[in-house]
Amino acid sequence: MREESMAKADTFPARFMDKLLMGMPLSDYVRTLITPFNVVAMGILCVGIPLIVLRFVDGLATITHASNEYPWSILLGWGLFSGVPLSATGYIMATAVYVFGFKKYHPLVRLGVLTGFLGYLFAVIYLLIDIGRPWRIYYPMAVSYGPTSVLFLVAWHVALYLTVQLLEFSPAILEWLHSRRVRKWAVMITIAMTVAGVILSTLHQSALGALFLLAPGKVHPLWYSGFLPVFFFVSSIYAGLVMVIAVSTILSRFMRNSADREFLGSLDTLTVGLGKGACIVMFVYFALKLIGVAHDDNWDLLATPYGYWFLVEIFLFVLVPGFVLTRGVKRDSARMVRIGAFYALAGVILNRLNVSLITFNWAIPGHLHDLIPPVKEVFVVLAIATLHIIIFRWIVNRMPVLREHPDYREHG
């Protein structure tokens, strides 16, 4: 249907509107928007967006939990520290396919890159709401350099990587716009961008962990380790893999129409393959966590309440999902791999929240009383997450992400 409608448009504005409305007349398009999901999304945005406005009118204190003791609240604990490892999809998939030659995963590369790009974009949006003067966000890049700071590195790398990912995704945008010549250039830089992406990702995924190295008295010793950067980097690898499984699962269910037969047909096989990679990395990560405890000789701390919580994290949320994935791979069951993938994702998020919020300031009396975020902050997070989904859907609906554009078939 999309292809037929292309023919009738001729002037540029008409053609552009046609692309935006996916080839439907405006009235039809608007009618397709009335769905249960959109109604709920609308409700969340109606509450969340005014709250975001409120932050720029009355200050951060009105919407967040952040305080002098806990400078970073759930906005960053979720948006940045959990959001960035879940966005490792871009560098993982691109490296696997373009550098290591796992060509059969080609149908998932664009999905990986788009998930990564939007993940970073939205991490920055959470950040812009959280930081005091967002219009100074470019200061570390242009005004005053603080090279002793790990955050300086994070700022640079996130900015660069966001650009890299936009370039990596640009062929899809250009195909959508039928810009054949520019697309050729965009495709040519694929390898260079992939390598740049791995370097930048290695450094800033680990840097997010290294940020907390500066707070040795505050993060609980079981989570504070000289290996924090390694933990964050290694877990981002499997986070990226299971996130691709999770996102492709959801899309193959709810956005079937935007996917081509190749994508849908190969998805189960590819899912099992990704699951295989993920469970190996998870076992490596589990071993590293044990090495971390041994390195600092923290065995005695395991018998404390925080120690039990640590064991819950590494056994119930790393080892067990690892076993679920392994079993799924052994039985060649995409279904079980998918369950394991969602489970493993929960584990990654739990780990990041543990380091950035749950065990941060553990020594302060009454520490755990301050954990539950206020309703307003939850709604801000929900609103941004909703926008994230809407924009993701908007792109997948229009651009060749889950399918190959008939005019631009790759050979791989």
């Binding site: 009355d58 400078p71 930081i131 005053s144 603080g146 955050l151 450094l203 940020l211």
Partner: protein, 318 residues
């Protein structure tokens, strides 16, 4: 390899050096250490040992000042709080400075108070109070300064650690990094939030004066002077009255040493001083990681290029 390495020579001699004053400028040590650490990192890789003196060392501004706070002397009159409020033109507090009910809870410096005094019960003599003044400790190598991505913090030769609101974009990493929970943030301000903390009255000190709180103290519980000399005074006090003090000068070595130094009758953890801090400056915790950055930048393209070539090679064979 990422694990930060202890690079100080073993023994009691702290990095800041009590007697030996070095002349190098401070900026150099940070920048150069990155270079030196890259070398050190590669040395570790090939199995060599890291020479502690392989890079230029800066042991702090020689004449930096500090304040010695003697908890055994403080009477909890809060004159220092009042003087600080006046000297810095801070907003009028909700309860007046002669009000003692504020001691019922533990307070901390906020966006409208650079310093607060808290009351504890003396664990040795139940029933008698023990007061502790809280403010920025003006570290020798400040964690906040190492954390700041825009270099909004400066360690002045006089000892104060100063914050520049014109550079700050409000990421609050300095607050995460500060082991003493000193910096506060203006969460109420929508468009111009600042980090707020004690300046050790830098202007007054530069003009030859002493910080307002020190001047206001009626019992000389806080004493301003050259840090080197304050340590000697503190040692003498401990030696002369071992019954009165625990044998520790808090701030002499904690996180590389601080400008504010404390003497107490009660063990320091009993009056809420963090006692789980490393003795080396906080910047040492991230040095190892930052030194690995150039290595990754250089080595990764080579490794990935190799992997790419190997894949292509396999394809050609087919």
């Amino acid at each position: 390899m990422v694990k930060s390495r202890e690079r100080r020579p073993a023994g009691k001699d702290p990095g800041e050096g009590r007697g030996g004053s070095r002349e190098e400028k401070p900026g150099i040590s940070r920048r150069d250490c990155l270079k030196a650490l890259t070398a050190a990192g590669s040395a570790t890789l090939i199995g060599g040992s890291v020479d502690a003196h392989a890079y230029k060392k800066f042991s702090g501004w020689p004449d930096r000042c500090g304040v010695l706070a003697d908890l055994t002397e403080c009477v909890g009159c809060r004159s220092c709080e009042a003087a600080c409020n006046r000297a810095n033109g801070l907003p009028k507090p909700d309860v007046p400075f002669d009000e003692k009910s504020v001691f019922e809870e533990k307070r901390r410096p906020t966006a409208s108070a650079y310093t607060v005094v808290n009351r504890y019960e003396d664990p040795e003599k139940p029933g008698t109070p023990l007061y502790r003044k809280v403010q920025c400790n003006h570290c020798n190598e400040p964690g906040c300064a190492s954390a700041c991505p825009v270099r909004a913090y400066t360690k002045t030769p006089e000892g104060a650690v100063l914050y520049n609101k014109d550079l700050c974009f409000g990421c609050r990493y300095c607050m995460v990094a500060c082991p003493f929970y000193a910096p506060a943030y203006d969460y109420e301000s929508a468009l111009e939030p600042r980090v707020v903390k004690c300046t050790m009255c830098h202007g007054r000190v530069k003009a030859g004066g002493v910080p307002a709180c020190v001047e206001a103290c009626p019992v000389e519980a806080i004493k301003f002077g050259k840090r080197k000399e304050l340590i000697k005074i503190a040692e003498t006090r401990i030696r002369n009255r071992p019954d009165r003090y625990v044998d520790h000068i808090y701030g002499e070595h904690e996180v590389g040493g601080t400008s504010w130094l404390y003497l107490s009758r009660a063990p320091f953890e009993r009056v809420d001083f963090p006692t789980n801090l490393p003795e080396k400056p906080l910047v040492e915790q991230t040095k190892g990681f930052l030194s690995s950055v150039p290595l990754v930048l250089v080595l990764w393209p080579a490794f990935l290029g190799m992997a790419y070539a190997a894949t292509r090679n396999k394809e050609d064979d087919k």
